[in-house]
């Protein structure tokens, strides 16, 4: 008895699955978010981390003498595309489903 309560009840540990972000963010040269169209339910600190990492990627490329105008990182379930924008970047986040087009 109480088996279902153990699994789904308030004391049960929640599965660690979060929704994938979808939308775009604009970041300044330090990676700080200036504007966002990503759902407000998505953790801001994770978006912030994405912004900073994307800017780090671009800064490292600049340091290696190959400044990049656009970068697309294709993960198994998410595509992150960033375009250089006046020192900062506009970053698009596209969750990848089986129906998503394959870029080439």
């Amino acid at each position: 008895m109480g088996l279902l309560n153990n699994i789904f009840g308030p004391s049960a540990k929640r599965a660690g699955v979060t929704q994938l972000p979808s939308g775009s963010i604009t970041v300044d040269r330090t990676g700080k978010i200036i504007s966002s169209t990503v759902s407000s339910g998505y953790p801001v600190d994770i978006l912030q981390a994405v912004g900073k990492e994307v800017m780090a990627l671009m800064h490292e490329a600049h340091a290696a003498q190959m400044s990049l105008a656009e970068v697309s990182v294709h993960f198994a379930v998410l595509r992150i595309t960033a375009r250089e924008l006046r020192g900062g970047a506009i970053i698009f986040l596209f969750p990848q489903t089986a129906l998503s087009p394959i870029s080439n």
């Binding site: 994770i46 981390a49 990627l57 105008a69 294709h74």
Partner: protein, 357 residues
């Protein structure tokens, strides 16, 4: 207002200095010509006032030309230097270029090609002081040609090996003509590539040179590498050397067939050096470092968002498109020129899959 450049001519022969004065007065930019008969005097003059160009003899009493050039290179790095010597030994030419001189001319050669000599000097005088680095040392001929082509240069490469002289005409990064040992075109180019050592210098471009070479330079380099490979195989070169050479030829052929600009294969930190084809060594080092750092950044980003493993990275700028593909033991950064057609991801995956096979 146009600046009047100053040239300092150093030679222990006063008559020669007088003749040099007359010759240099024919330069279109009409530079001011000063002379010195000893290295000590020349260094004092260089200390006292700025010169644009030093023309220096090698064989002189007390301080010889090579010593003067060593001091000059350290103390006046922006001063352009030309060696004009009567010493025909190729060793001196190599040593002078190793010191970073801009040009080496034999006195006899100069007298026979006076117009070209003057054009070269005028070109040196006209070059922007701040532009470019000097001092290439011990680079293979293939590297030098690839560097010129990758840089989309227009130049004439004059290659000397003892008494043999060859010329390669490069126009906007494409090899258009070659001349060596009485041959012209592809035959001459393939003959030049068999030279194991020598010196080279850049002469002003000749944009109207008739085109005799139509194949891409990478294809010719590959043909040459294969020919050398076969020759070395016959000559009983050690098995390991042959294997290394064959692997290089194989990778170069992959690169050429795929039409990629370059490939940099990067193992994880501490697990060996990177390997590069189609890109100059220093740049390859920078790309390899970026590949390592980018991989670490992407991993952090993927972990933060729970986005799964990296499939590939696709980046672009005005000059090229870059694809970073994670491999089993290495990550690969492949560069493609913007004009390369579609299907780059598939092409890159095939290239990477065949790389270590």
């Amino acid at each position: 207002m146009e600046v009047q450049h100053k040239i300092l001519v150093l030679d222990d022969d006063a008559d020669w200095l007088e003749m040099s004065r007359d010759i240099l007065s024919q330069l279109p930019s009409k530079p001011e010509v000063r002379t010195a008969t000893s290295g000590k005097r020349a260094l004092a003059m260089l200390d006292a006032e700025p010169f644009r160009l030093l023309i220096c003899d090698l064989k002189m009493p007390r301080i010889d030309g090579l010593q003067v050039l060593t001091i000059v290179r350290r103390r006046f790095p922006e001063l352009r230097t030309v060696v004009l010597s009567g010493l025909e030994d190729d060793e001196f030419r190599s040593r002078a270029y190793a010191l970073g001189v801009d040009m080496f001319w034999l006195k006899t050669e100069m007298q026979g090609n006076l117009q070209m000599y003057l054009e070269c000097l005028e070109s040196l005088l006209g070059r922007d002081q701040a532009a470019g680095f000097r001092g290439i040392q011990s680079k293979g001929l293939m590297d030098i040609i690839q560097m010129e082509c990758l840089a989309r240069s227009s130049t004439v490469l004059r290659i000397t090996r003892g008494s043999l002289v060859a010329r390669l005409w490069i126009k906007e990064g494409e090899l258009v003509d070659a001349e060596a040992e009485g041959a012209r075109g592809e035959t001459a180019f393939l003959r030049i590539l068999t030279w194991k050592s020598g010196t080279f210098e850049n002469l002003p471009a000749e944009p109207n040179r008739e085109r005799t070479i139509l194949k891409p330079v990478n294809a010719l380099l590959l043909e040459s590498a294969q020919a050398i490979d076969e020759k070395d195989g016959d000559a009983g070169v050690s098995n390991e050397t042959v294997q290394i050479h064959r692997r290089t030829v194989w990778k170069l052929s992959l690169l050429t067939r795929a039409g990629a600009e370059f490939v940099v294969a990067v193992p994880p930190e501490g697990q060996g050096a990177h390997e590069a084809m189609g890109v100059e060594a220093q740049t390859a080092g920078q790309y390899a470092q970026w590949t390592r750092r980018a991989t670490a950044i992407i991993k952090r980003m993927g972990d933060a968002v729970d986005a799964g493993p990296l499939l590939h990275l696709d980046a672009s700028n005005l000059e090229r498109r870059l694809l970073l593909i994670p491999g089993e033991n290495k990550n690969f950064l492949v560069g493609w020129l913007p004009e390369t057609g579609g299907g780059l991801l598939e092409k890159t995956k095939k290239l990477v899959a065949s790389w270590d096979s």
